[in-house]
Amino acid sequence: MSDIPTSAVPEKATCVVIGAGIVGNCVVGHLARLGWTDLVLLDKGPLPNPGGSTGHASNFIFPVDHNKEMALLGEQSANQYRDLGLSVDSGGIEVARTQERMDELQRRMTSATAWGIEAHLLSPAEVKELVPFINEEVIMGGFYCPTVSVVDSLETGTVMRKEAIEKAGLQVFANTEVLDLITDDTPRPNGRRKIVAVETDKGTIEAEHVVIACGVWSNRIAYMADTYIPLVPAVHQMADVGPMDILAETGNEIGYPIVRDMDTFCYERQSSGSMEVGSYGHRAILHHPDDIPSNEEAALSPTEMPFTPDDFDPQMETAIELMDFLGDAEIKYAINGLLSLTPDGMPCLGELPDVENLWSAAAVWVKEGPGMGQVVAEWMHYGYPRVIDAHGADVARFYDEEKSDEHIWSRADESFIKTYGIVHPAEQWGGRRHLVESPFRSRQEALGAEFFQARVWERPQWYASNADLVERYGLEERPVEWDNRWWSPITVGEHLNLREHCGMIDLSAFQIFELEGPGAVEFADYLAVNKIDVPVGRSVYTPWLNHEGGFHSDLTMMRMADDRVRIVTGVFDGGRDEFWVRKHMPNDGSVTFTNLTKQISTLGLWGPNAATVLGQLTDHDLSQEGSPYGSYLPVNIAGVDCHLFRISYVGDAGWEIYVPWDDATTVWDAIMEAGADHGLRITGGGVYSLSGRIEKGYRLMGAELESEYNPVEAGLARPKVKAADFIGKEAYLAARDAGAEVQCVTLIVDDNTDRNGNPRYMQGGNEPILTLDGERIVDSHGRASRVTTAGYSPSLGKNLLMGYLPNELAVPGTKLQSMYMNELYPCTVVGPGSAFDPDDSRMKA
């Protein structure tokens, strides 16, 4: 086979990949490496540059990112480019003009250490040694990473495509327009349709799998199958200025490190004798995919839109300030280049929830292209990506409220300027708030709730009405602004009050599903590691594994009736978990799926006085015998039929109370009234999701629990394995036989005083855990020990960390160090158990 398109497309293929940019080419290349054959690659444009974003990319990779998926896939991609010999390590420097940015560079150093990437902080003079044409007087310092690389993404795509042609007989069709995606819409119990064919202007191809790797056009193609990939084409302006002798004299495409002028949201990257100046500092300029010109209508290429100089002018001024020679060089080429933005800044990878075997490989930039191509190919091949846990990029994560142009445009409008921004781990969105809210909103607002948004759901983080607790418990603000941002001492007060009296927490964002039918219990057991076929009225906390034995999810399931099982999962995983159920459920009619999330509201009531408070509202025996741990009991509260589920994610005894949505406020009012004399306070999510949880060492999906770890390592394996089959069972049994190489543990930060004498409060996660010699700790799978959750324990007055350590270090009392903002803090291993109330005496009270 050659790379030259033939005239007619084949009638059938195992897989059709649409889009021959870096992503589509890498998907076919990796599929071929995995042994796939009978592949077709289409693009509406010519090859090797069909006119998408790859063709005008800046082609550099800064490997340090605070986000694990982005950092590791960036590194993975950089290595794939290196392996092909299509990469040069130019080095790169992020320069700071402000103290706030200097602090951020300390944070970058921390992430660099976490991922094992060489990096150095430089003085302005040291920056000038590397970049002699920089004006060192306007900068305060720099973050230098020698392995910043410049890659040839077009050639890499060509090489990957040719590899697939040679290995797998890939057929390539350039200048081929996709006209429609054809699905089988026969109604099925799982509610999913199935892709069956791709219609093109050169014929129709029946296909088992179809991959949308169409960059900025991806959503237009998804529309053809009546589905949605939430991304918007956005402009990133760049201008090529030159020539400059000092650059030409290097004789290289790139001879000087790339400079990112972080505080002006701008970069300067040598391109032979010229300098490319790129900007993320202009207004967000967004386009609808249908407004992008065709290849023939575009003067340069469809994604190199006419330059709007007014938007770029302020960047020129700051660029000249940093490098004076830019001012006198000619602007030879300037474009409004298009790239893809999503509502949460993460790519869209994986199978589309509503169309079986239709895959998204979209919103991927050149810097992650090869790695993410591999993720998608492995997902298709193994049923789950092996190279990394990709839950943050899973296209199934989105809720319906996130799948609208209004939402994406608003998010992109707000986030574009944050591309080089300093984004706090708890930073909240300004727009598109209160998309979904609990029945209690008016009550919460009256109590001064500070709302945090979890995907589309609003959850009070703390309540201003509890400000008196700050005085009662002698609390104060944190001295360092960063630690204080998106935080209030009230949350500590709410925590201590819950431990002393009791607290009620709105958990309405829980995602609640039900399986019903003669096959419901058997199917539920197939999803879960732990036994679901338990007596009616019992519940089970259980992992869900992927086929490889890593975590897909971690949730509770309740046996509601002989033929009915309820599933309760967290708001960050609702989309993925619903998809997982639908993907695996039998289509023979033996099981039906219902999403009850907006029919059932949930309140949590915990603390030493919880039983006393609730006892005023029901005659049910609320003792440990009458309402044992894990039981799910019907009760009537204030005339409303509810269920009491004795469980705790905060470490004190109490219940999750499941209430019909429409009657939920009645129950809220009744409990608040009953608790008035017992110290009950409405309590925010800060206690539930962080301080209460971390004191008890409770694991969280997406933090401690990822597909890269298994239940044995996470400390969630039970003594016995059920007889029934379940997804991942074989791998799980093997993991149990092999034993854990690492263990999930809690650590106490012994001293949190920084070099300025200020107490620091660790947050964010992904900071490295190091030996006393400052060495990284890496297991035989290459997994580095890092903070999976960091939080302050009000009960202990200490910062706690969670993470995985090799067995020999997971021993209680082991002394280690953790890094935060590029400073090392001594810490001590607690072990796999909890730092607070390790015997669970409070839970048994």
Binding site: S2, I4, V241, D291, P293, S294, E296, E297, A298, A299, L300, M305, P306, F307, P309, D313, M316, E317, A319, I320, L326, G327, D328, A329, E330, I331, K332
Partner: protein, 260 residues
């Protein structure tokens, strides 16, 4: 020396040209706008003459405020002053444009003069024809109305002691004209290679004050009925083969073309 360049904002070429539904305009949504290429050379030529002989370059256009983009572009590559002749909502034909520009030039020249005596531009440069409508008229009409000599198709300009020397390409050589000042020239692409703006030039152009004059002139005798885009003549591409096996076929074609 004072030189005036008259330029026109036109849709940027280089891609498929679509016509608006009413047939009256080019749909420039995907194209963006630029200055007619002949006029880019005119501006570059003027700037080079001023760099050599001293003086100032003024750039003028008739258009809406959108056309300030082209005026500022000219300033970013070296022009000193910019004048927008406000086109308002009128329909413009070549005669009307020429009349409006003539009036505007006379206004500027009066303002440049003193004691009631106008100070004419030593040289006025037009593009040979506009890149979009290609009427070949406006420069000639303006020169005629101002009573000044004009030569079209110019690809070389020198400033002599008393005269302006202009060169026009003909088959096998050049025609050389000497024109007394003040004079008008219609220049062609190839006069020079226009420079790109520098960042500093661009930023300076943002600060220049654009003079605006009203445009009042009667409609001429020409009217646009509609624009028509002729079918593109498609050329057939034959793939001769791939790899070394294609060599013989390539030789055959070259032989056929008589280039071997």
């Amino acid at each position: 020396m004072k030189i005036l360049c008259c330029v026109k904002r036109v849709p940027a070429p280089g891609a498929k040209i679509n016509i608006t539904a009413d047939g009256q305009d080019v749909d420039a949504a995907h194209l963006g706008f630029t200055t007619s290429p002949h006029e880019e050379c005119a501006v570059e030529g003027a700037v080079q003459l001023i760099e050599e002989h001293g003086g100032e370059v003024t750039v003028m256009t008739l258009g809406t405020s959108d056309a300030e983009e082209q005026l500022r572009y000219a300033v970013s590559v070296g022009a000193h002053h910019a004048v927008l002749v406000d086109a308002g909502d009128n329909t413009w034909d070549p005669q009307r444009i020429a009349a409006a520009l003539t009036a505007a030039i006379q206004d500027v020249e009066s303002a440049n003069g003193s004691d009631g005596t106008a100070e004419p531009f030593d040289l006025i440069l037009f593009g040979n024809e506009s890149a979009d409508s290609g009427g070949f008229q406006v420069g000639i009409r303006v020169a005629h109305a101002l009573g000044r000599p004009i030569v079209q198709g110019i690809k070389g300009i020198e400033i002599g002691d008393d005269a302006i020397i202009a060169r026009r390409e003909i088959d096998g050589g050049f025609e050389v004209y000497e024109l007394p000042r003040p004079a008008v020239l219609g220049v062609k692409e190839g006069l020079n290679l226009p420079r790109y703006p520098t960042m500093k030039g661009r930023l300076a152009s943002k600060k220049v004050e654009i003079g605006t004059v009203g445009a009042s002139a009667d409609a001429g005798g020409q009217a646009r009925l509609r624009l028509h885009r002729p079918e593109e003549a498609l050329s057939e591409t034959v793939i001769l083969g791939t790899g070394p096996e294609a060599a013989a076929a390539v030789v055959d074609v070259l032989d056929e073309l008589g280039v071997l």
